[in-house]
C-alpha cells in the first residue's frame, strides 16, 4: 500500500530532490512531500520535533549530530551526493581558468557562500587558501547566505564572479551561461551531502523505501545529471 514520506532537504539539493521524488513516486506509489530549508534551520527544526522522516543535508556534520542525539538511525546514514565547486561568471569571456583568481584579477568582487554555515563557502575558502590567494580575496569577498544567494549575486552581475555549485550552472553536462572554471576536488575537502532516516520514521515503510531508492543507480543517474558526483558503493 502507498505511504507518505516527508523529506527535509537542504536548499541546494532541492532541485535534484524534486526529480528524485518524482521518479520515486512513480516507482513506488508512495507520496513524497519536500520541505526545503537551509541545513542549519532544518537541523534546528528536527531537534525541536519537526515532523520529517528523511533529512537530506548539505553536509555531514548535521546528520552526524542527529545520530549522536539518537534522533536519526545510524545505519541509514549515507552520502547522497558530492558537490562540485565552480568559479563562475555571468560574463561569457571572463573566466578562462584559475588564473582569474590570481591577484590583480579582472574580478572586482568575488561571491562565495557564507563559509560558516554553507559547506560550499568553506570549500571556496579552502580553494583560495590552497592557491595562496586567500589574503588577496578576503577584502573583496561578498558572502551569500547560501549557495543560492551566491548564484544570484553573480547572475545579476552584482558580483563579477563567484564560487557556485556546478549543479547551479551546468545542465546535462554543459554550461548554461557565462564562463566557468570547474574547481578540481583536490583543492578542497569533499562536499559530501549526507542523508539519514529520522528516528521517528523507523516504522515508516515509505521512508525506508526512499532511503533504499536513494542508494539505487537510478537515483545516482538523476543526481549526476544535476552536476553532482555520487559515491561509488
Amino acid at each position: 500500500q502507498s505511504g507518505e514520506v516527508r523529506v527535509a532537504v537542504a536548499s541546494n539539493f532541492y532541485r535534484p530532490m524534486q526529480a528524485l521524488a518524482n521518479d520515486f513516486e512513480q516507482r513506488s506509489g508512495h507520496q513524497v512531500s519536500l520541505s526545503a530549508g537551509s541545513t542549519g534551520k532544518l537541523y534546528a527544526q528536527i531537534i525541536n520535533g519537526a515532523p520529517f522522516d528523511v533529512f537530506v543535508a548539505a553536509d555531514q556534520a548535521r546528520p552526524q549530530a542527529l545520530i549522536e542525539q539518537d534522533l536519526a538511525t545510524a545505519d541509514s546514514l549515507m552520502t547522497v551526493a558530492i558537490g562540485q565547486l565552480a568559479l563562475w561568471s555571468a560574463d561569457a569571456k571572463l573566466i578562462t581558468g584559475q588564473q582569474q583568481l590570481q591577484p590583480n584579477s579582472t574580478i572586482k568582487r568575488l561571491a562565495i557562500a557564507n563559509p560558516k554555515s554553507a559547506p560550499y563557502g568553506a570549500a571556496a575558502i579552502a580553494v583560495m587558501e590552497q592557491l595562496g590567494v586567500a589574503q588577496y580575496w578576503l577584502p573583496r569577498l561578498v558572502q551569500g547566505q547560501n549557495i543560492s544567494h551566491t548564484y544570484q549575486y553573480v547572475s545579476s552581475g552584482n558580483a563579477t564572479a563567484g564560487f557556485v555549485a556546478v549543479s547551479q550552472v551546468y545542465q546535462q553536462g554543459r554550461l548554461i551561461a557565462g564562463s566557468a572554471w570547474l574547481v578540481p576536488s583536490s583543492l578542497h575537502p569533499a562536499l559530501k551531502q549526507d542523508a539519514v532516516l529520522l528516528q521517528s520514521a523507523t516504522t515508516n515503510q515509505a521512508a525506508q523505501a526512499l532511503i533504499e531508492y536513494l542508494r539505487s543507480n537510478a537515483a545516482k543517474t538523476i543526481i549526476q545529471s544535476f552536476g553532482y558526483r555520487t559515491q561509488s558503493q
Partner: protein
C-alpha cells in the same frame, strides 16, 4: 498558476486573516490599557511589546521554536494540556506570525486611542454609556483610522512574513507553506520565472486589494468626521 500554487495562495490569505483577527483580539485591550493607564509599568509594558520588532524574524522564529517545541516550557505546557505542540502546524505559524506583527498593531491603536482624549469618554458616561459600551460605540468608531492602519499593517505584514513562518512552520505543503515560502522555494529551485510570476502576482494583487480598501476607507472618512 498550478493547483499547488492556489492552495498556497489560499493558505496565505487564511494565515493573514487569522493572524489579523488574533492581533486585533490581543492588541486592542493591550493598546487600550496602555492608552489609559497611569501605571508606572506603562513604559515597561510598551517596551516589551516593541521587542518582537528588534529580533530578526528567523531568530525570533528560532526562539519561538525552542519555546514552543516539545522541550520548551510552552511546548510542555501545551502538550500537557493535550494540545500537542504548536510548531509545524498552522496554529503555530499563526501564533508566531502574530507575535512578530504585534507591535505594528499595538502602536497605531494606542496612538489612535490616545488621540481621542478624555472628553468623548466623559460625554458618553454622562449619556449613560458604561465603559464597555463607550469602548464599542465611541472609542472604536473614533479610532477608526488607527484600526484601519493596524489591520492593513497586520494583514500585509503577515502576508509578507517569511523568516518566522519558515522557521516555525517548516515549509510543509498545505499546512505551513505560504506564498512567501513558495517564492523562496522557487528561487531555491532556480525556477526564477515562476518566482517572478508569483512575486509579480502578489504585488499586483496586493496593490489592487490595498487600492480598493484605501478607496473605501477614503470614502468612509469623507462621509464621517472632517
Amino acid at each position: 498558476m498550478s493547483g499547488v500554487d492556489l492552495t498556497v495562495v489560499w493558505l496565505t490569505l487564511k494565515l493573514a486573516s487569522v493572524v489579523t483577527l488574533l492581533l486585533l483580539v490581543i492588541a486592542t485591550p493591550v493598546a487600550w490599557w496602555l492608552s489609559q493607564t497611569q501605571s508606572k509599568l506603562k513604559p515597561a509594558v510598551s517596551a516589551i511589546f516593541a521587542i518582537p520588532l528588534v529580533l530578526p524574524p528567523t531568530v525570533l522564529g528560532f526562539y519561538l521554536l525552542l519555546l514552543l517545541g516539545p522541550n520548551g516550557p510552552a511546548g510542555q505546557l501545551s502538550a500537557g494540556l493535550g494540545l500537542g505542540t504548536l510548531p509545524f502546524s498552522f496554529a503555530g505559524i499563526a501564533i508566531a506570525c502574530a507575535v512578530h506583527s504585534l507591535p505594528f498593531v499595538v502602536q497605531p491603536l494606542q496612538n489612535a486611542f490616545e488621540a481621542i482624549g478624555k472628553r468623548p469618554l466623559e460625554v458618553a458616561a454622562t449619556l449613560r454609556a458604561s465603559p464597555w459600551d463607550t469602548f464599542w460605540h465611541v472609542v472604536v468608531p473614533m479610532a477608526r483610522p488607527g484600526f484601519f492602519t493596524a489591520i492593513v499593517m497586520g494583514f500585509c505584514h503577515s502576508i509578507g512574513e517569511f523568516g518566522v513562518v519558515l522557521m516555525i512552520g517548516g515549509n510543509i505543503p498545505g499546512e505551513t507553506r505560504v506564498l512567501s515560502v513558495e517564492i523562496y522555494n522557487h528561487v531555491e529551485a532556480m525556477e526564477y520565472s515562476q518566482a517572478h510570476w508569483l512575486a509579480g502576482g502578489m504585488v499586483a494583487f496586493s496593490f489592487v486589494a490595498l487600492l480598493a480598501i484605501y478607496i473605501i476607507n477614503h470614502r468612509a472618512n469623507r462621509r464621517g468626521t472632517l
